[in-house]
Amino acid sequence: MSLEELFEEVFKKIPELAQEYLGGFVEEALSDSKKFCIEIEGRLEKWLGQYQRGELNREELEWLVKSLKSLAHGQLLSEAGIAQARTQNFFEGVLEFLIKIAITALL
């Protein structure tokens, strides 16, 4: 296999690897964010009901509501961390394939 053919193989493989590691990520992130917002909304309604029924006092309700802000921050960090991990896996996949094909072609 010539050097040109080797590169051709790698370039052909990249879309497949991108699909494998990164495919559907945006849709998943959007779906997760939407799910998170729905959960938060449901929980807020639950807490307000518990407060009205006297199961939570005002201080407890305020404590819990404040926790949602940091939970939302954590969600953003989580999405960023997952994106970083997937990108890393993609590049490692490309590198692994390149090394594999180079060894096959050159040895």
């Binding site: 050097l3 790698v10 959960e39 926790s67 990108t87 890393q88 590049f91």
Partner: protein
């Protein structure tokens, strides 16, 4: 020849990106899962006086701080370290603040505990999701 240079460029970018990222750590993932279970279990005991569980709280806090320190020590691991900080900080109203509140108040209400456990459960899941993705 143009493709050769493109591939070389891709390799350079790959090298930079992969060395800058943290590899998956199955031990850290396992410890995060264990810490979640143990933390939620201990939170459930906040219906009883804090002084009855001081030793358990101390032991758990030590493990939690160790997890934060381990993450902070890893290169290019800012997002996950920040997630641990949010969980343990006393100002963010998650686990760290819950323990502080338990210590201050002595005993906490059952409904409040259940709802705070939901928050901490979610926060641990956010951390575990990242660790799991890295370990794939």
């Amino acid at each position: 020849m143009r493709r050769f240079w493109m591939l070389l460029g891709l390799l350079a970018v790959t090298a930079v990106l992969t060395t800058g990222c943290v590899p998956g750590d199955p031990a850290a993932l396992a410890e995060a899962k264990l810490l979640k279970v143990d933390s939620l279990e201990l939170m459930g005991k906040a219906v009883e006086p804090f002084t009855d569980h001081e030793t358990e709280v101390e032991a758990l806090t030590t493990r939690l701080k160790a997890a934060l320190a381990d993450n902070a020590a890893k290169c290019c691991n800012e997002t996950l370290t920040d997630q641990w900080r949010i969980l343990l900080d006393t100002e963010t109203n998650q686990l760290g603040a819950f323990i502080e509140r338990w210590e201050t108040k002595g005993i906490l209400g059952a409904t409040f505990i259940e709802e705070a456990k939901w928050v901490v459960d979610k926060s641990f899941d956010q951390i575990i999701n990242v660790e799991e993705e890295r370990c794939k």
